[in-house]
């Protein structure tokens, strides 16, 4: 059965469009699978997602339960990763914190990718004044260092997960818009768009049905590579006290509150640091591999 499927996927002369599409995807997957680092990244990402989904099963304690008599304990059989400054189990907090971190990443991506796509496609397709106006706005946002702009936004709103997500999204969309615009400019001159125009399709329809879908693959690469940067910005905001707020077990905030124990009980701030590192590295490895496969001209 497997062999048949494989043959079907790798057929030199696909019988249908969908077979061709699946075949293309399968070949990409084969390429991707050849790189052990990429696969390691993928594995960790999957594990992280599972961890976030099954947090209640994996946590050994209630992540909020305080035990003031047992503060700052070393890792032990009872508390796998020790306890924090309020005697809470660090492992359980880490597991629940994964939900927040991944949730923030997903929320940012869901906000950013469509906005960037829309702005880029409209600017690229409409051209003229619209293009100049939208790209100028994009440039203004690009003229800020990301963390500083996010910091300013959060300070203007109110520290917390929602504002952090909004702030990161605000700072993350411009590169997407630029990318989508570049793709759209290239697509605009192609024959099939011209053909679509000839059939009398409205510009909105052309952008929605023909242009936007073709911009998606390069956006996907960009998104995967951006994940780690989003995780780091979120953690940075948390660390500066502008992101998720205690008692939320967001990893950056965990480091921020435990930072003062770096000398005596160094594992308390370092463990969430490792968690951020692992998550961010996994997304980077995956994104790097994806880029090699999908977008060879940018990478190797």
């Amino acid at each position: 059965m497997n062999a048949i499927t494989r043959d079907w996927l790798l057929a030199e002369t696909p019988a249908s469009r969908s077979q061709a599409a699946w075949g293309r995807r399968y070949r990409l997957w084969l390429q991707l699978r050849r790189n052990p680092l990429t696969m390691a990244g993928l594995l960790v990402v999957v594990l992280l997602i599972l961890m976030a989904l099954f947090a209640p099963l994996l946590a050994t304690y209630d992540p909020g339960a305080q035990d003031l008599a047992n503060r700052l304990q070393k890792p032990s059989a009872e508390h796998w990763l020790g306890t924090d400054e309020l005697g809470r189990d660090v492992w359980s907090r880490l597991v629940y914190g994964g939900r927040i971190t991944l949730g923030m990443v997903v929320a940012v991506v869901l906000m950013v990718a469509p906005v960037g796509l829309a702005v880029g496609c409209i600017a690229g397709y409409a051209g003229g004044v619209w293009d100049r106006l939208l790209m100028r706005v994009t440039d203004i946002f690009l003229a800020f260092p990301r963390l500083i702009l996010a910091l300013a936004f959060v300070a203007a709103l109110k520290p917390g997960v929602t504002s952090a997500v909004a702030a990161i999204a605000l700072t993350a969309w411009p590169p997407y818009a630029r990318l989508a615009r570049a793709e759209t400019l290239a697509l605009r001159r192609t024959d099939f768009i011209a053909a679509a125009r000839l059939t009398g399709a409205s510009p909105a329809r052309i952008v929605l049905r023909h242009v936007a879908p073709l911009c998606v693959p390069s956006l996907v690469v960009r998104v995967t590579l951006d994940m780690s940067s989003i995780i780091l910005t979120a953690a940075g905001l948390g660390f500066l006290g502008m992101g998720a707020q205690p008692p939320s077990p967001e990893w950056g905030a965990m480091i921020a509150t435990a930072r003062r124990f770096i000398l005596e009980q160094w594992w308390v701030p370092v463990i969430p640091g490792i968690a951020i590192f692992v998550a961010s590295l996994a997304f980077n490895l995956l994104g790097d591999g994806l880029r090699d496969v999908l977008d060879p001209k940018q990478g190797s």
């Binding site: 203007a156 709103l157 780091l232 640091g273 590192f277 790097d288 190797s300």
Partner: protein, 336 residues
């Protein structure tokens, strides 16, 4: 000719971008849920003092009026006065920006000196385990939150091994010893011939610069590798090889020489990224730079300081981008 015209268009858009920058920072500054008057008069001041100060600051005016007033001041080069330091913002920036600059330049040197050879080496050994190892190292540097790296560096090199001095930019015994000329301590100390102060400054700089450099090395190495791969497969490199030139000569003189221009562009863009990493690095190393100034004034609703510092950072950003753009257009053989 066309490339000059488009560069001129890019350059002409800078003032518009800057205006947008000012407007954006101004708006952010005015909606902070924090009373800027409070930062000045304190919590205990009677209401009439609060009201009077509000009027003195022009905060009783409408937002557009305040904005016009602020832009008017900006036009005359007046950035206002900082509440926190009670100096003019311009004077503060003149003091804090060189500190950030010094840190960033040192970090860029470290990132470049490590990243470029690693990238070249990875390209030469493409696909080997060394290439993979370099990839992991670089991506790791890119993935670790800079504040975690900084904390660990302090723990290891300052607390445990005692190789590095503690936080700060200058040992207290050297404070005020070197007259400020450029604001870059190393340069000023060398100019004044104060070699003890020079060594002190170098020691203070080493750890933060290393942390900042390592976390920004990835991008440089990655781009170097990509450029080199392309360059190595280029026709003239193949020709040079055919002529029997040594591997070293082919790699360094021909292939590497070919990517230098694009590399400078990458370095310029990395530098812009360094400014961002500097915010967190400065916080941890008590480095009296623009990043610390910015976060400090943000938390204290010191709006003149926030606006001034953001403007300078934005300006640097725009200038670096423009520079990268210019280099690319003028020097890159591929765009000719």
């Amino acid at each position: 000719m066309r490339r000059w015209r488009s560069f001129a268009a890019t350059a002409a858009s800078v003032p518009i971008t800057l205006f947008g920058l000012v407007l954006l920072t101004f708006l952010i500054g005015r909606v902070v849920p924090l009373d800027p008057v409070l930062a000045i008069v304190g919590d205990r001041a009677p209401q009439d003092v609060v009201e009077r100060t509000r009027i003195e600051l022009g905060l009783d005016k409408s937002l557009p009026e305040q904005f016009v007033r602020y832009v008017g001041q900006l036009a005359t080069g007046d950035l206002g006065r900082s509440v926190m330091t009670s100096n003019t913002v311009a004077a503060d920036i003149a003091r804090f920006f060189p500190a950030t600059l010094e840190l960033s330049i040192a970090a860029l040197l470290i990132a470049g000196l490590l990243g470029v050879p690693l990238g070249v080496y990875a390209a030469v050994r493409q696909g080997s385990w060394i290439d993979q190892a370099i990839r992991v190292v670089c991506l790791s540097g890119h993935s670790i939150p800079i504040f975690v790296l900084a904390l660990i560096a302090l723990l290891v090199f300052y607390a445990t091994l005692q190789w590095a001095p503690g936080p700060g930019r200058q040992g207290i015994m050297f404070d005020g010893m070197v007259p400020q000329v450029t604001g870059l301590l190393l340069v000023d100390a060398a100019l004044a011939g104060e070699w003890d102060a020079f060594r002190d400054a170098l020691r203070q700089l080493a750890l933060p610069a290393l942390v900042l450099g390592l976390s920004n090395m990835a991008y440089i190495a990655r781009m170097t590798r990509a450029f080199m791969l392309e360059s190595l497969s280029g026709e003239f490199v193949v020709t040079a090889r055919a002529k029997g030139l040594s591997a070293g000569a082919v790699i360094w003189r021909h292939a590497f020489g070919n990517i230098l221009v694009r590399l400078v562009t990458v370095l310029a863009l990395t530098f812009a990224g360094l400014l961002e990493g500097a915010v967190l690095t400065e916080t941890i190393f008590s480095w009296p730079g623009l990043g610390q100034y910015l976060t400090g004034s943000l938390l204290n609703a010191d709006m003149n300081a926030v606006l001034g510092a953001t403007l300078v950072v934005g300006l640097t950003y725009v200038a670096l981008n423009l520079f990268a753009d210019l280099m690319y257009r003028v020097l890159d053989p591929r765009t000719r």
